[in-house]
């Protein structure tokens, strides 16, 4: 029976009972001082609903303690297969869960407003479009720096994705509720929209093992 993997948690994680994708019971297998949570996976009629159910399981677990989620959908063939990532990466997972037991990740997506986003069809030349785009990125860069300097965070990461800048903030769990209000107090350029979300598991701060 295929198994859908949800997340990894410490071996001493609080008991956790939930219905997962397709209302399947979420269970766990233990190895290497860790728990790997999974459910039996069956085809669903609505894949988007399934992804939402997956998301809710992760959020419920995150509310109780540190977790390392798998990317959705990670499906393995059987119970033996689900222990393999614990064996291969157990040390890295244990270190991350211990180091970030009291942390969560808040995210800010920065985009130019629709009216100020460069549009190829409105400029006279390709060069003009590129100049507009470069200026647009400078505006986003300034907004990202303003967020980084003003938002309370232990660490900060940034990823550029097309015409959007994603900022990731590692914050103490106890500060996550106040984080959005701190963002609201920041003076951002009027050409920029900021979308704040979280808390999420601090996956951007999982150290790369170089594979």
């Amino acid at each position: 029976m295929p198994l859908l993997l949800y997340f990894v948690a410490p071996e001493q994680a609080p008991d956790f009972a939930a219905k997962g994708v397709g209302d399947a019971a979420v269970q766990y297998a233990a190895a290497e001082g860790l728990r790997c949570y999974y459910s039996e996976f069956a085809a669903t009629e609505n894949a988007a609903t399934a992804a939402l159910q997956f998301h809710r399981v992760i959020q419920q677990a995150l509310h109780r303690g540190p977790v390392i989620p798998f990317r959705y959908p990670t499906v393995v063939r059987n119970a033996d297969a689900l222990r393999e990532p614990l064996v291969q990466r157990g040390a890295r997972f244990r270190a991350h869960l211990a180091d970030h037991a009291g942390h969560v990740q808040m995210e800010v997506r920065l985009r130019l407003t629709a009216q100020t986003r460069p549009q190829p069809q409105t400029v006279s030349s390709g060069a003009a479009y590129l100049r507009q785009r470069a200026e647009a990125m400078r505006v986003l860069d300034r907004a990202a720096e303003t967020c980084r300097e003003s938002a309370p965070a232990l660490e900060w990461r940034r990823r550029d994705s097309g015409d959007m800048v994603r900022c990731y903030f590692l914050v103490d769990r106890t500060q996550s509720a106040a984080f959005p209000d701190r963002l609201r107090a920041i003076q951002l350029p009027e050409q920029v929209t900021a979308i704040v979300s979280g808390p999420w598991p601090p996956m951007e701060f999982l150290e790369d093992e170089g594979d």
Binding site: L52, I68, R71, T74, P85, L183
Partner: protein, 72 residues
Amino acid sequence: MATSSSNVVVLGGSGDDEPSLLDILDHVLNAGVVIHGSIVISLAGVDLVYLGLNAVLTSVETALRHLESHTP
């Protein structure tokens, strides 16, 4: 000219916008540990986790039908 917080949208929490389906899908499909190797179920030799949004949402069901049809 800088403005106040009217251009900041907060998803989740009381009185704020709820995360949209797209926001959630964007997160669960792009974040999280990726498993390499043979334990990942593949479809036509392609690891499911590397497929794009639309392909993933349809390929899981396709992969399961494929598995079920080959199970004795």
